[in-house]
């Protein structure tokens, strides 16, 4: 039985949080890179936490952009040395759209992955 006229809206912040987790879970991804914009967002989030006592899901390095009817996700990341950069990038694209679609039901039109740095493998 389907309820009529119910519209679900998934907030961009939720999509960004899910996308960030999906991207970070891909083998070879060392971390997401927040950049200046992410740093500002993080400070704002710290402020929010002080104020509301709630913690927003981290989504550093991920931007969700809507343009007309398309949903684009942009991921900035750092990969570890010892893996093939092109393959990691393609896997992140695939995983982000798969996991976002799976968990929210929202279709992702395009995923842009920017590899900003390659880190030496940690010996830990």
């Amino acid at each position: 039985m389907s309820a009529p006229n119910i519209e679900f809206v998934v907030a961009d912040a939720v999509i960004a949080g899910i996308a960030a987790r999906a991207a970070a879970a891909v083998p070879g991804v060392s971390r997401l890179e927040p950049g200046v914009r992410g740093l500002v967002a993080r400070l704002a989030r710290t402020g929010m936490r002080l104020w509301t006592g709630r913690d927003a899901a981290p989504s550093d390095g991920v931007r969700v952009m809507r343009d007309d009817d398309t949903l684009n996700i942009h991921v900035d990341l750092v990969i570890s040395a010892g893996c093939r950069a092109g393959e990691v990038g393609v896997t992140v694209q695939r995983e982000v759209s798969r996991v976002v679609a799976e968990q929210t039901g929202v279709g992702v039109d395009a995923v842009t992955v920017v590899i900003l740095d390659i880190e030496p493998e940690q010996s830990r």
């Binding site: 040395a81 950069a85 092109g86 395009a110 900003l116």
Partner: protein
């Protein structure tokens, strides 16, 4: 400074108002001077609520007598460095919608490391640019690299093909780019005694 609504769509609310306008009118609306749109629009109301929370939180941060976290400076520098890298990227091939890009600098690190593995060669500078697309849409890169070679070691003529080989392999295996042109400059020589490292 006007906010350009075509490039800064991030700051445009779904109702068409831009966030800065909401910010400027924040006090006026609180004082009961809301215009017709502001009084009824749910998007504006939600934005106002977030902005008020942000304002309160930042005030608390400013009034916080404690010094900023010690790693703040480092975090800012990392962020700025990432911003610089973002400016120069190479496209990698992908079958999915969207794109995969890699910063020229990270490619340079990989290639420099590859050249370094050749005995008797130390890589110095490395610059990477995209040259052209190959026959099957493959990206071909052009690389300028300067190296130092060991004094009394193998001749430069023997070393160069080895370096070229390692760099080409690394570009393909580690990154997924095809090496087109490699300009090698022997910029320096070093003493074999320094090799102990």
């Amino acid at each position: 400074m006007a906010v350009n609504s075509t490039t800064d769509r991030d700051y445009l609310l779904p109702c068409g108002r831009d966030l800065e306008q909401v910010w400027r009118r924040l006090d006026a609306v609180e004082a009961g001077l809301a215009d017709e749109h502001e009084a009824s629009c749910a998007h504006c109301a939600a934005a106002r609520e977030s902005l008020r929370a942000l304002r309160t939180a930042t005030r608390e941060l400013i009034e916080d007598p404690e010094a900023p976290p010690p790693d703040l400076f480092g975090r800012i520098m990392v962020a700025v460095r990432a911003e610089v890298r973002r400016g120069r990227t190479l496209d990698l091939p992908t079958p999915h919608p969207g794109s995969v890009q890699i910063s020229e600098e990270s490619v340079a690190v990989v290639l420099r490391y590859a050249a370094d593995t050749v005995p008797g060669v130390r890589a110095r500078g490395c610059r990477v640019r995209v040259a052209e697309s190959g026959p099957d849409g493959e990206r071909v890169i052009a690389v300028e690299m300067s190296v130092a070679v060991r004094m009394g070691g193998s001749g430069v003529a023997e070393l160069i093909p080895v370096v070229r080989d390692r760099v080409r392999t690394a570009a393909a295996a580690r990154v997924g780019l095809r090496l087109g042109r490699l300009d090698l400059t022997v910029a320096d020589i070093y003493d074999a005694g320094e090799e102990a490292r």
